[in-house]
Structures are given as structure tokens and as C-alpha cells.
Subunit: 341 residues, 2 copies
């Protein structure tokens, strides 16, 4: 069964390709490589022994996407392609909406024209905005606090409408990711952000490896145990397996057409300082850090109630925080400059 | 001053072209003619004595739009182009989101690339969903109840983000229309929907002229004076002049970059049965009607508080309901089959 993976050369995409192959699926990757490297796919081949067909295609290019659908007998799509930096989205909203929203619309139109109507979409816990309480269930209120988050919410709304149209045959899973970290245990694929990392883990890892001098901790006066922000970190391999579980569920004959929403998280929150300590231990490196003021828009606490995914998909996370930081460190220390090493 | 008018061959677009010309502006029209007629622009010329440059361009076609910007020295854009039938939007959500949302993104990207950053956008009172009270102020909560409404809200959100980006030079007016009816006093341009009309007035007019046998009134058990739904009907010429007022405001030197939201309505609600009676009187025709169940999603009452537009734009409506139905009837009786007559 061939599965189109958009953004498949990226961080979560490449780890998902590994899991797909190991479960007997045949991923086909399209990626515009604007924030990823074809090298990741060569390493997926080294891990799995399977070469992944790759096409450098931008999902906004309907003709090029159509060529891919004509060439392969695609049964379902896992749609990772998108821009993901909050700060950049505030500065360049048109670019974010074009890539994330218009790009997804073009993908769906091409899918529809080829009769492919099974889609797994990369959403984000950011759609919960500042949640009323934790842990967060899928039926909590949603709201965006920046154009990146708004783009995810808009796509969710559009896909829900697509499934609710009369006689719709679409089956869509909206996967709301919490905070993916970690890397494949081989240390050969991992997160390789362009420029200065926006997320905590690659930043900490680059401090540990000497690429960056010091971590900035944004606020230590939140209403949390140690005052720093609490997030639900999930191992990228667990997350990749969540996609596999969602795909297996969608393709079951007895899964009705419709739109399904799942949190993918561990259900456990960790503070910034916990992460720093765990990473220092795993790497044997000191992580110098400085407390600086809160960032606007950051919230105190965010972690999932992962019950629904466990019930419906038979999936839950297996890899703990120690494993997450160890795997991150293995990737970072083996590849101090990412795929450009 | 040249103003690009997207959807300028449509109902509100053509009336706005007349007002623009009479105020000394030079409209340039792009329209894909999917629900409009070039004949409307020939009639705009007959009314004003000025031929409007016209290009059959779909706003999703960035190259063709770029050619128009290259050819004319466009100073501002009034953006009417979009699909507008609620029921159709439920059945064809992708098509609606592509035209209304992705189309607007493409328009904005082309504008940005030509340094044109003054935009007036056709929004709708539908963004208020089922309002907590009437009259409705611009600061009321918003919410969509169908893909058409969602597409308007998404574009509003995107344009607001575009204006809030650091150092943004965009000036945007979001005009939330209540229920436009009426026609130019000449009776030569008016509303000419394809197929069975979705809105009350063209439906009533087509019953009066004998094209349709009978009006269906959706519900007479609302909590309103006569039990039928109450809306804020606004003469299309008043609405067109609202665009002129918004344009004059945007182009003032002392109007800061930013996003401005205005209700365009009369502030007065009329029930379905009031409209039917007024139309029967104006046309001298009997309007047979039948009470049928409510339509899902319809609300009881919706009318504007138009204070903000009057304060900020110096604009208010001048043409009353009698004039609206008389002008509708003049258009419909002179053009029983619309522009195909």
C-alpha cells in the first residue's frame, strides 16, 4: 500500500517513513526542501534498506502533485508539509497562510481528482491556545494566538467541512501533536532546523554540542512547580507510530467516512529546567542558561489527555524522557551540524 | 486614481464601478464571469459614459493578475470576487475555500509584489453567526455556521494578521455587508443570480415577473413581530457608496496602516412579510407565498448598528425600503431574464 508523505524529508516525516516501511507500507515522499534535506531520506534507506521514492515538489503546485498521483497508485496521504515557526508566522503571515492553508487546499483538490480521500493531517496542540485547564482533551475550546496556530485551525475547519459535505467519502485524521523531541535510536536522523532553533530541544542540544553559547529560559515566574513553562514532550518515534496507528484505523473498512481528532502526547508535563537537567545528565555536558523575560503568547502549562487516542487507535507512548534526551544527544553529537555535517 | 475592482462585473461590483466613476476614480475590472456578465460593464458605460477596462481573470491565477498590475498603475483594490451561496458552500467546501480564501491570498501576494497595500474586502454580517443581541456592533463575537461564513472569517483573520505584522504598511477595510437589495435607478444594472436565487429579493422579484411560481417563506414561528425572519436590507447604491467612503478614508495620508472593520447596514430590520408586502405594492403584482419549515442555520433577527461607519467614514444609508423594492422591480421588469434578456 503506497502512502504519499508530504514533507517526508523533514523531522517528523522522515521518522514516519521509517515506521511506515518497517510496517510494510511503501512511502512516496514529496517535499520542497525549504526546511529539510534529501540526506534524511538517504539515511532512512540506510536504516530500513528501502529506497524511498522522492520528488521535489511544492504542494502548492497542483500540476506537479498531479504527476506524482499519476505515477503512483497512492492509497492515502500523510500531510506534514508546512511552515512551523511562530515568530516567523507573525512577520510573514501571507507566506504562512499560502504554504499551510492554500497548500493543503491544493493537495486536497488533487487528491479528490484522483479519488484519494484518506488523509492524516499534522495539527498541533497550539490550536488549544491558552487552555482552561490541563490535561487537555480533544473537545476543549480552540483558538489561535498567532498566524501559525491560525493556519492549523483553519485547515482543521476546512477538513471538517470537507468530511461533513453531503455524501462525502473523505476519512480524515487530525493529529494534534504536543512537543516532539528525540531522534531515531541509530542517531542518523533527527531534528535539523535551519538557523537558530525555535524549539527548546534542538536549542539545548546545540548548546551542549557547542554550536550555541547559552540557553535562554523564557520566564521562571509561571505558576508551575519550578516557575518555568511545562510542556508535554513526546518522542518523535512514538509520534511516528501514532501516524501508523491513525493510518491503520482510517483504512479499516468499518471506519466511517468522517473527521477524527486525536491528541498525540504522553499525558505528562515536564518543565524547561527538568529538560535541561535531563539533557545535561544524558550528554555529560553542562548547559549554561540564563533566565530572561517571558515571551508574549507563551502559556504556563500544556499537556495532553491521551486517553482518546489509546481507546480508538490502540496507541500510546512508550519512550520516556530519559530516552528522548539520550536519543536527541546521540543525533546531535554524531551530527553536530545536522545533515550538513 | 486607478482602482482594481475584483468581481467588478457582479451585482455589488458593477454598482460600485458606477459610483467610483461618478466620483472621479478609474476602475479596472477583473472577473472570471463564473456568476456574472460582461454585459453589466457595458451598461455601466451606458450609465456613466465611461468604458471600464475589463480583463477576464481568475484571482487564483497569479500570473494573469500580475499582468494587470503591470499594465495599470493601480493604487488600491476593492475585492468583491468570491462565491456566496451558503448551501453550495456546504456541498462544495473545497471550491469555496479555494476561491474565497486561497484566491484572496494570491491577490494579496500579487499586490504586495507590486507595492499596492490598500485593500477593501467584501465581508459579511454572516461572520456574527447567531448574534447575542441586536443591533450588532463591530466588536461583537464572531463565528461561522457554514463554509461560506468560515471563508469570510478566515480572510478577515488573515488580513488582520497581515496588517499586524511588524512594520506592515497595509491599510485594509473589512466591510461587513448586511443584506444588499435594490438596483441602479436606471433599471439597467441589478442582481442577476445564476439558477434559482438564494436570497429573498431576487426570488420575490422573479415571482412577481412570472419566472418562479411562488415564494417559500422559511419559518413564521421566530420570535419576531410577525414570526418571519428579520434582516437589515440595504440599497446596493448605498452599499456602493460605502465602498467609496471606505476608499476615501484609506487613501487619506493621516489614516494609519492597519485593519479597520465597518458594518454597512441601515440599522433597521424588516421581516420577510414586510418585504413581500412592500414589493407587492411597488410592483402592483400579487406575490403568492407559502410558509415552509425553517432552514437550518437561519437566525431570527440580524441588523446593524451602523454608528461606527457614520463616525469614521461620514457615511450612512439614504435610500429607504420603498426605494429599494421600487428599484428592484424596475430592474426585474425591464430585464425579466437578467442580462440574458
Amino acid at each position: 500500500m503506497k502512502v504519499l508523505v508530504t514533507g517526508g524529508a523533514g523531522y517528523i516525516g522522515s521518522h514516519t517513513c521509517v515506521e511506515l516501511i518497517q510496517a510494510g507500507f511503501e512511502p512516496v515522499v514529496v517535499d520542497n526542501l525549504c526546511n529539510s534535506s534529501e540526506e534524511a531520506l538517504r539515511r532512512v534507506e540506510a536504516i530500513t534498506g528501502v529506497a524511498v521514492p522522492f520528488h521535489q515538489v511544492d504542494i502548492r503546485d497542483a500540476d506537479a502533485l498531479g504527476d506524482v498521483f499519476r505515477h503512483y497508485d497512492i492509497a492515502a496521504v500523510i500531510h506534514f508539509a508546512g511552515l512551523k515557526a511562530v515568530g516567523e508566522s507573525v512577520a510573514q503571515p501571507l507566506r504562512y497562510y499560502q504554504n499551510n492553508v492554500a497548500g493543503t487546499l491544493t493537495l486536497c483538490e488533487v487528491m479528490e481528482s484522483f479519488g484519494v480521500r484518506q488523509l492524516i493531517f499534522s495539527s498541533s496542540a497550539t490550536v488549544y491556545g491558552d487552555p482552561a485547564s490541563v490535561p487537555i482533551r480533544e473537545d476543549f475550546a480552540t483558538g489561535a494566538t498567532n498566524p501559525y496556530g491560525a493556519s492549523k485551525l483553519m485547515v482543521e475547519d476546512m477538513l471538517r467541512d470537507l468530511c461533513q459535505a453531503p455524501d462525502s467519502q473523505w476519512k480524515v485524521s487530525l493529529l494534534r501533536y504536543f512537543n516532539p523531541i528525540g531522534a531515531h535510536k541509530s542517531g542518523t536522523i533527527g531534528e535539523d532546523p535551519a538557523g537558530i532553533p525555535n524549539n527548546l530541544l534542538p536549542y539545548v542540544a546545540q548548546v551542549a554540542v557547542g554550536r550555541l553559547p547559552q540557553l535562554q529560559v523564557f520566564g521562571d515566574d509561571y505558576a508551575t512547580a519550578d516557575g518555568t513553562g511545562v510542556r508535554d514532550y513526546i518522542h518523535v518515534v512514538d509520534l511516528a507510530r501514532g501516524h501508523l496507528a491513525a493510518l491503520n484505523k482510517l483504512k479499516q473498512e468499518d471506519t466511517d467516512a468522517g473527521c477524527y481528532t486525536y491528541n498525540l502526547g504522553t499525558g505528562r508535563g515536564s518543565s524547561v529546567l527538568e529538560i535541561v537537567r535531563a539533557f545535561a545528565e544524558a550528554s555529560g555536558k553542562e548547559i549554561p542558561y540564563k533566565i530572561v523575560p517571558r515571551r508574549p503568547g507563551d502559556i504556563a502549562e500544556c499537556y495532553a489527555d491521551p486517553t482518546y487516542a489509546e481507546q480508538e487507535l490502540g496507541w500510546k507512548t512508550e519512550l520516556d524522557l530519559k530516552r528522548m534526551v539520550e536519543d536527541t544527544w546521540r543525533w546531535q553529537s554524531q551530527n553536530p551540524n545536522g545533515y550538513k555535517s
